[in-house]
Symmetry: C2
Subunit: 409 residues, 2 copies
């Protein structure tokens, strides 16, 4: 399709309107063209033209049923076409790669969880593995044949999202690494963001408390980060660095942290700290990496479930520390809901009671400011799911190019 | 003017459009009607009608000059009419009432600062004094003859702004007090909010860094609170309780705080704590109140300026503690700019160097996340100024009723 320079502005408006109609159908499907016109304020002719365009792009389809009520000709009902596109999400963390693909209605098409030692691999080799994993996901039988509209990559550290540069990820040993640029050859847009931010996006879009506009997602990995959602939008801060819950100073005399400071929350209640405390006979003194983590978490949870006093005490101590850290967050941000993610999830039976007690004790507003703390239902794929969910949301908001019509040259 | 129920919706749209035109003239004055039409997308006839309405309400006036350029008839230039309305702001704090009145262009018309012991007076008597102070301000020679369009009241504590109820203000000894309702008889709308929130509004609207969309204002009173602005909007949180910086746990073994906990930031670096530390011979052991505070602050600053080692060490210690508290805020919220207000301002020469050092040491992002810490230029009237500034802003945004046209019955 030839687009003269004079029509670029109009085309942009049309793309935005396509996004508006797509979002409206998502929210009200099954619905008629007339209902879309009523909901958007666009006139019926425009809506018909936009719907035709979305159908040509295989994002919308007619259900074959008609609207029951109303005057005039019965309207054919529309729905999202969930058969044509896919969005990918990937998380790289200290000990794994997690990859997911979702369709237009955020349904999971495929998911893979691979042990991976990102610290040992280093940034260049990790980038190669990340690109390969995204290629494999795009070639997965459940995805092949669909148009991949984009991918979101989650990294545990400070990320400059617009440029795709990982500024500082001490638990991976990376700094100032242009990860986004390494994925240019994939043929679809790729966006890099902080793992906690994408976890919060996942909770907002597809989690157990989906739609809650004020919430915090806390990563439970070797590192601890917080993704803060206020009014349904990520709180990024002036420099994009908000949510560094793991580096809250909890105890100036505490253990050394990967960031070089002492007594940070993640040095006292991150998964590495918990495992060293809960499994003094098994956990290595060195920083945890690679395949160690998942197996050790299983062992610690197993021992706690069997009543092992050392393991139980370690988890309860960590819960108390988490609660003290969350109290600072709740005093400052008042999120209403905190979801504990990652490896914290299987530990929640022991973490949550002391965590909630410490939170209530540390929050100035009565009754912990009304803030609930709950386990995430998204497990270790939360950040990857958030990466994919963000891509689908970008389609709706006109922030990503839509797939070309099927009959385009 | 009789308004049939069928036209209420239209009238609301018109009020909103009046606000849009008012804001546009504020931002671009002096400007022609044609320029307003171009900036708003409203057609020229509509703009002319709205401008006529705003002129009848004495919010806009013609300057008498005409636009120099452009085709067609030269446009008469418009400006805000700063002679007809006033907005009031009042802060009640542990040791004073501060009252200001501003005009439509946020210029200060009058300001009064009165020693007042709010804790000793109790909530009922304080409410009477607050209402009396607002009445006096409305009757001030600089205000009399203007239409008072509203007032904003600042309180150091948890405030439920929509209902006007002060939930918890431990430094005043108030809880669940319906302050907003006590001001109903004033004849203009009154809104109650947290003092730090209104300080942040004042910084954003009229402070030295006005227009900075991400900033935090920190109150420096007996209590410490933070008003957090992100993207130009107050971060209120799920329950409206965000910004409780003063009750961040700094040292579990620290001194007792007014909230009943130990080692909160305000118990270690609030003005009461600083004075007890800097003036061991003068500051009372009991909680500070009433007229004590201002005089003791003067003495402490005077001694520090004269090189008194005890006073200097106390201020520097407080600066370090403030920096540690701000590090938590910057790690979580990444505000880019923190303004220290109230009694912290005269102490800044001693507070700021150790504060900035502790901040840089405690923030995970490099270079303190790029966050600057500066003294507020608004002194003890910041929160009152913010209350008044919020009223003027509410006019522009259509959130407050505009004054009736001068020729209305």
């Amino acid at each position: 399709m030839a687009v003269g320079s004079g029509t670029v502005g109009l085309r942009t408006v049309r793309e935005a309107n396509l996004g508006v109609v797509l979002r409206t159908i998502r929210e009200s499907a099954p619905c008629s063209r007339a209902a879309v016109a009523a909901a958007t304020g666009l006139n019926k002719t425009t809506v018909s033209s936009l719907v035709a365009d979305l159908m040509a792009r295989r994002l919308v389809r007619e259900t074959g049923r008609t609207a029951q009520s109303g005057v005039g000709r019965p309207g054919v009902l529309l729905d999202l076409d969930d058969t044509s596109v896919a969005a990918l999400g990937l998380e790289v963390n200290v000990d794994y790669l997690s990859v997911v693909a979702v369709d237009l209605v955020q349904r999971e098409l495929t998911a893979r969880h691979m042990p991976f030692d990102a610290r040992e691999a280093g940034p260049q080799e990790s980038a190669r593995r990340i690109v390969a994993a995204l290629r494999e996901a795009a070639a997965d039988p459940a995805v092949r044949g669909r148009t991949v509209v984009g991918a979101g990559i989650a990294v545990p550290g400070l990320v400059d999202a617009p440029s795709g540069i990982v500024r500082r990820a001490p638990n991976l040993g990376w700094s100032d690494f242009p990860l986004g640029g390494r994925a240019d050859a994939l043929g679809f847009p790729v966006r890099v963001d902080n793992d906690a931010n994408l976890g919060a996006v996942a909770e907002y879009r597809v989690g157990s408390f989906a739609g809650t506009p004020d919430l915090v997602y806390v990563t439970g990995e070797v590192g601890i980060g917080a993704g803060v959602l206020t009014g349904g939008a990520l709180l990024r801060g002036a420099g994009g660095f908000a949510g560094e819950l793991g580096h809250l100073a909890l105890d100036p005399g505490g253990p050394e942290c990967s960031c070089g400071r002492r007594g940070c929350l993640e040095a006292m209640a991150g998964i590495g700290a918990i495992l060293r405390d809960a499994l003094p006979d098994l956990a290595p003194g060195r920083p945890l990496s690679g395949a160690d983590v998942a197996a050790l978490v299983d062992t610690a949870v197993g021992r706690a479930a069997a009543g092992d006093a050392v393991a139980v005490a370690a988890l309860e101590r960590a819960g108390n520390r988490l609660g003290r850290g969350l109290a600072a967050l709740v005093n400052l941000v008042d999120p209403g809901l905190v979801l504990l993610g990652g490896y914290f999830v299987p530990m929640c039976p022991w973490l949550l009671p002391p965590c909630r007690t410490a939170l209530a004790a540390g929050v100035f507003a009565p009754d912990a400011g009304g803030c609930r703390v709950e386990p995430s239902a998204l497990g270790l794929s939360a950040a990857a799911r958030g990466g994919a969910a963000g891509v689908i949301h970008a389609l709706d908001s006109g922030a990503l190019p839509l797939p070309e019509p099927a009959d385009a040259p």
